[in-house]
């Protein structure tokens, strides 16, 4: 037989290949950093520029202000008024209200559908339900917003006899439609990846299929399900077009979800195009952008920490 002659491997090709692959990984990281740096840079004058601070310092954005003599002090967002008012509290409350309605709507539906699809649906039904719910995620948010603005708002107003057609409830439900596929997909994945050996163990102890699902599979999948909920909340806070179209955009402080409401994201979308470049208002909008960035980052980080702890507990590393 002929002697085999092995060629030395190309060091050069290996080196460039490896570097190219690592660059792709860092592009995303660099993009995130650049975005944050740019957005935050435009917000810096709020901390440094005394002219900007006169109208919108940190404490003016957070605490009650007395804008007119003889009137009560209050929180107010009226950036284009004669006396510009830059309190972020109405927007913060508006953001939370819409996101909470969305989550109250999306968690039961998303998790419920995930349980049904992974545990009880026949294969044929599952093959209809899964793609159908995942298609919800593919609907552009402007279409969902348009639907909420034109159809849902009217239906809700007639059904509940509402004063305001566009409100946090209406926006929250439309937002929920965008969040459901996220919660569903992650939760369904978590449930189906619970090992078969656990189902077998429960079945062999005399548990019926319902008990197997609810007392074994569901608890074992809770870390994954919470990950879906956290990701969904991140989307609900950051989502812009739906709330811009369906919430009414009134920057008011109110506990009622049936009042019109305005979120951080919708504020940026609605006002940034018309703001005077370099104006206090301009910098405040970038401040809001930075806040949103940090906010969603913390939500995801917090979710991640909770998840890791839960996983460790389930794996027996901590008690």
């Amino acid at each position: 037989m002929e002697r085999l002659i092995f060629k030395p491997k190309s060091r050069w090709r290996e080196f460039t290949g490896e570097k190219l692959i690592s660059i792709t990984a860092f592009v995303a990281l660099i993009a995130i950093l650049l975005i944050f740096v740019f957005v935050f840079k435009e917000a810096i004058p709020i901390f440094t520029n005394s002219y900007v601070q006169e109208e919108a310092s940190l404490d003016k954005m957070v605490f009650k202000q007395q804008f007119y003599e003889g009137r009560d002090s209050k929180w107010s967002w009226q950036p284009n008024s004669e006396v510009p008012k830059f309190s972020l509290l109405p927007l913060f409350i508006g953001t939370l209200k819409a996101a909470l309605v969305a989550m109250l709507f999306a968690i039961p539906l998303g998790v419920g559908a995930a349980i049904f699809s992974s545990e009880f649906a026949s294969r044929r039904i599952r093959e209809i339900i899964k793609p159908a719910i995942e298609t919800l995620a593919a609907i552009p948010s402007v279409v969902l917003g348009f639907f909420a603005l034109m159809v849902l708002a009217t239906v809700l107003q007639n059904a509940l006899g509402l004063t305001f057609r566009l409100n946090a409830f209406n926006a929250g439900i439309a937002l929920g439609l965008a969040v459901i596929p996220i919660v569903f997909t992650v939760a369904e994945d978590a449930m189906t990846s619970v090992p078969r050996s656990l189902r077998d163990a429960a079945t062999a102890l005399g548990a019926n299929p319902w008990q197997v699902s609810m007392t074994t599979v569901f608890p074992a999948a809770i870390p994954g399900i919470s990950a879906g909920v956290v990701l969904g909340f991140g989307r609900a806070v950051g989502e812009t077009m739906i709330v811009l179209m369906a919430s009414g955009n009134a920057a008011i402080i109110s506990a009622s979800i049936l009042d019109s409401t305005r979120t951080f994201s919708a504020t940026i979308a609605a006002e940034l195009a018309e703001v005077v470049f370099g104006d206090t208002h301009y910098h405040v909008l970038f401040m809001i952008g930075s806040l949103l960035f940090v906010f969603t980052f913390l939500i995801n980080l917090g979710g991640d920490i909770v998840l890791t702890r839960l996983k460790e507990r389930l794996a027996g590393k901590t008690i």
Partner: protein, 277 residues
């Protein structure tokens, strides 16, 4: 407790005489299998198996991989039904009642015929909750009773002394051998009559294996045990009767001593002497 004799048995693998020496041929039949055939879809896994399993005896099922012994084991508590697309014919009788036709709810069968799996599969819960699980899903809510049963089962599985102070710890904090004994305790907690074991020690080290085998010798007094094993020394050590499976058929079934020393079929002899497998 006849611990010394069992320990001796452990130390001298292959001393079949002691096992068969305990045989009482008059023990009554607990499970009677009649003409059982079983298929996964179009693939037939078991062919016309008839077998009588005696009460308070350890029956070992041996044979090469894929011979159908695990499939057969799962037909004895209807666990095979959890796999979609399977079909069967024939009958399995538990105390003369047909477990497929006389019971609508398979979970009733599974509380009477418990199962221990090849790979230990504790729930991601505390030790206590692992054992209590079978009680809770079967409608027992009395906390005192549950605590009693948990303690009793852990003692039966010879695990109590090792874990009694840490019942709230996660089951995953135990070693592999301890996890498997926990799974045995969990199976015992619902007070089954028969315990099916599917290669319960195949993933364990020799010391843990010895403990499991000791345990089987102890449990034999109260329960009917059917054990699938790859390890022929293990079959010889722990069982009273042995069935040899090959290609979905029960080739030979009889007292363990006879199977290992004077098998009637050539195929059995080839297998137990290690000529194939």
């Amino acid at each position: 407790m006849s611990a010394p004799s069992k320990t001796d048995r452990m130390k001298a693998p292959g001393s079949i005489a002691m096992v068969s020496g305990r045989l009482q041929p008059d023990a009554k039949y607990k499970i009677i299998v009649e003409n059982l055939s079983f298929s996964y879809g179009d693939v037939q896994a078991l062919f016309d198996i008839s077998m009588k399993i005696r009460q308070n005896r350890v029956t070992a099922l041996i044979g090469p991989s894929g011979c159908g012994k695990s499939t057969f084991l799962r037909t004895l508590n209807r666990m095979n039904e959890t796999i979609p697309g399977t079909s069967m014919s024939g009958a399995v009788r538990l105390d003369s009642r047909d477990i497929y036709r006389d019971f609508d709810d398979p979970s009733v069968i599974r509380t009477r015929v418990g199962m221990v799996f090849q790979k230990s599969n504790p729930f991601p819960k505390s030790l206590f909750d692992n054992i209590a699980y079978g009680l809770r899903v079967n409608g027992i809510k009395d906390k005192q009773l549950i605590a009693q049963v948990v303690e009793h089962s852990l003692k039966q599985a010879a695990l109590w002394d090792e874990v009694k102070d840490n019942l709230d710890n996660s089951a995953f904090m135990l070693s592999g051998g301890q996890q498997q004994r926990l799974c045995i305790a969990r199976a015992l907690a619902i007070q089954p009559e028969v315990i099916l074991m599917d290669e319960p020690a195949s993933a364990l080290d020799p010391i843990s294996t010895a403990k499991i085998e000791d345990l089987i010798g102890e449990l034999r007094k109260q329960y009917t045990i059917v054990i699938v094993t790859h390890n022929m020394q293990q079959a010889a050590r722990v069982s009273d009767h042995t069935g040899f499976f090959y290609e979905g058929r029960l080739i030979e079934y009889g007292p363990t001593k006879q199977i290992f020393t004077r098998p009637a079929k050539k195929k059995t002899e080839d297998y137990v002497t290690g000529r194939f497998g």
